[in-house]
Amino acid sequence: MDLDKVKQTFILEARELLAAMEEALLGIEEDLNPGESINAMFRAVHTIKGSAGLFGLDPIVRFSHTVESVMDRVRSKQISLDPTLVSLLLECHDHLASLITSTQEGVEETPESHEGSQRLLNQLIPYLEGNGVIESTPVRVAAQPSGASEGGWNECWHLSIRFGPDVLRNGMDPLSFVRYLGTLGKIVHLASVVEKLPRGEDYDPETCYLGIELDLDTDADRQTIEDVFEFVREDSEIRLLPPHSKVEEYIAFIRAMPEDERFLGEILVAGGCITTKDLEEALRTQKAETLEDGVIHGRLIGTILIEDQAVPPPVVAAALDKQKKFQDRQAQEMKVVKVQADKLDRLVDLVGELVIAGASANAMAVQVHEPRLLEATTIVNKLVEEIRDNALSLRMVQIGDTFNRFRRIVRDVSQEMGKSIELELHGGDTELDKTIVEKLSDPLMHIVRNAIDHGIESLEVRRARGKPDTGSLSLNAFHDSGSIVIEVADDGGGLNKAKILKKAVERGIIREGAELSDAEITSLIFEPGFSTAEAITKLSGRGVGMDVVRQNIDELRGSIELESYEEAGTTLRIRLPLTLAIIDGFRVGIGTASYVLPLDLVIECLDLGPFLESEENHLINLRGEVLPFLRLREIFRMPGEPPTRERVVVVQYGETRAGLVVDRLMGEFQTVIKPLGNLFKQVRGVGGSTILGSGEVALILDVPQLIQLASEPSSGLRRRPATHLPPTHS
């Protein structure tokens, strides 16, 4: 077994568990019925401890053990989960996460991490005081043949021995066992049980009637003690009751065991609470009872073990809990299969090739005019389309996980800023391509931090403006015509336009006295080198500003809109494509080259002639609506003359429409987006490439960028210079 691989799995699992723990912790304060969250947290820490134990990661085990103990007290309602404890547990969560990270890096413990553990442990100790461990319920000592030695629940093992009648005949001396036990530890108490001793003539001197109850103070484990009776076990009854402290150890041990499929008895055996012999015996009893009754169900194995005093009830309870947990988890695993991301990527790549090959086969079938072939390829293409959709859906993940992380960030950041902020999350089940989600989390983080830092006002200002004390921040995700929209809205102060203008002039982004529309002003915050924070705070204003956010979103072929009302709040809208992999394309031709437009952005196609409104201003009149247009031939500086009959493709992105003038319309087809690479990053208006059925490469047009170009008064071809204004939405 490759231990490293297993360790990776552990790390992965631990991360997931920690995420679950964090989520539970953050949800707990609002949770009306926090029981399940507390259980979830407990399970998370508990499982981490258990798995860490398997790898001998002692620092993690030590630390998580205490955390677990505290949580267990919370769980059993011995202490309440107040905000201070939540914060402390959050810190513990962070520390555990950092321990896991250093494990991944191959470092078990550094002086800093040790110090961190120690510091947190010290803070945890008060919560443990009094009774840091699980209380065990008083145990009913059932059906004991003799009244001797009831005080089994101390630090000693209690041994209850009933020698079989043939012990003496077999040449065994009962006393020798007692003497031998004396070598394992100290015999604290001993009582003989002689009830079986018959009277007078019934007495057989060769038969052993002796029973012994004794308390043994020893460090030896169950197996060692039981082995003492190796030779008499066959026909004697021997019961071992572990000392009190052992019970906890057993419970802890059972809880720490990895969750896999086991019978209750096996769990107990593995935990060292009973021996295999005990189990066999109990099973025999169970079987015998079943037979006697003639009914299928005898006593349950746990009951038998408890009643036969082999195991104290709390231990069985812990084992049962473990068993149930595995069953729960198994039920969950049936639903979710973990697959490595690169395998998935490979699959999507292959499906991409399949789509291309399918399109090419179809094109050929059309060419040869063979109806049966055409029918066959149509069926194949339909199936390929289904496979494509399925394969792509594999890559789709819900944005909820990303959203949930913001609970923590908002909590921490707002505390740091001394602001009270409530975070609302909507549309967490909206699905997005995994790659997009990953790349989205950084810019989103920045936006949220900005909203808390600059957006939501301080308490005094809020009161003065007559707003509720608690600021509100909401994250919202939803589908909207072929794209996904993510909104970050706050009810803060909105953007201060005067301040933005002043800063923009200071930074040389615009000229003094420039006339700008509101939208143009708000868009200034996306310019490189712009930061609205008057004082550089710890949270934002680190020089990475909204321009980086915009750049990140651009890379995802997305766009940002900003809506801001002074003193009322700001809403930032990120619009993203559904997927980055495969699109339905619409092919257009210019000269000899052909280009592809994403079909879901195409509204309609028309002839330029009848709709031309103004050649000079590049405007068309679409049934009363005046739209800007641009000629791709001009944009791309293509040589040659345009045909007499030019076509317009009307495209829409977000709220904006524009016309793209091309030479030919070539119809729709399915296409796989291939990255064009950094070399071609500078080319405005081209977003990617695709492979046509013929194997030829076609470029995919970047519609949002083209719309932007069309909307600008002077369509510059260079990348946006610093003084250049962002688009106005017409």
Partner: protein, 179 residues
């Protein structure tokens, strides 16, 4: 291989000098003979359909699809400040893997024809001439003596990793992004 005598001589030469030899791929461009270290060469394909990318400097002829991956194609002749390479029957695209940062960038270059694989020892290579010729000296590794003639040894790293094309595709980011 066809000529056992020649083959024999070569072996003899290696044994005699015991000098390590490097392999070079020789190709023709604008009537001249060039060669580059074979370790950079991934494969040679026939010139096929190439898609031009608008607004790019002329030495970037466009992109081709190499089994589904996009590969930019560079016209070496234009890169050297000469005329556009004419596409003819024997035109080929040499696919190269050029180290960049920690990874490799796949790039194609158009050549008129691919001639042979040369084995050159260090003693067969002269330093690049300080003057003469229109090629920038940093593009050259030296001049190899082959039989009676010369072949210009290109410094692939320099030819293909100048500032203008420093942003060649191939960063992890760029490749991972739009999938």
């Amino acid at each position: 291989m066809a000529d056992p005598k020649k083959n024999g001589t070569r072996h003899h030469r290696i044994a005699a000098s015991a000098e390590p030899k490097q392999q070079y791929l020789a190709f023709g461009l604008g009537g001249e003979s060039f060669a580059m270290e074979i370790s950079y060469v991934k494969e040679v394909i026939h010139y096929g359909e190439l898609t031009e990318v608008p607004l790019m400097p002329p030495f970037i002829r466009g992109v081709i699809s190499l089994r589904g991956a996009m590969v930019p194609v560079i016209d070496l002749s234009v890169r050297f400040g000469r005329a556009l390479t004419e596409i003819a029957r024997r035109s080929c695209v040499v696919i190269l893997e050029v180290p960049r940062g920690e990874g490799l960038v796949v790039v194609g270059v158009i050549v008129e024809k691919v001639s042979e694989v040369l084995e050159l020892a260090a003693s067969d290579i002269e330093p690049p001439p300080a003057f003469g010729g229109d090629l920038r000296s940093e593009f050259l590794n030296g001049v190899g003596k082959v039989g009676g003639g010369f072949v210009i040894l290109l410094d692939v790293r320099h030819v293909l990793s100048m500032e203008e094309i420093s942003a060649l595709p191939g960063d992890r980011d760029a490749e991972a992004a739009p999938k």
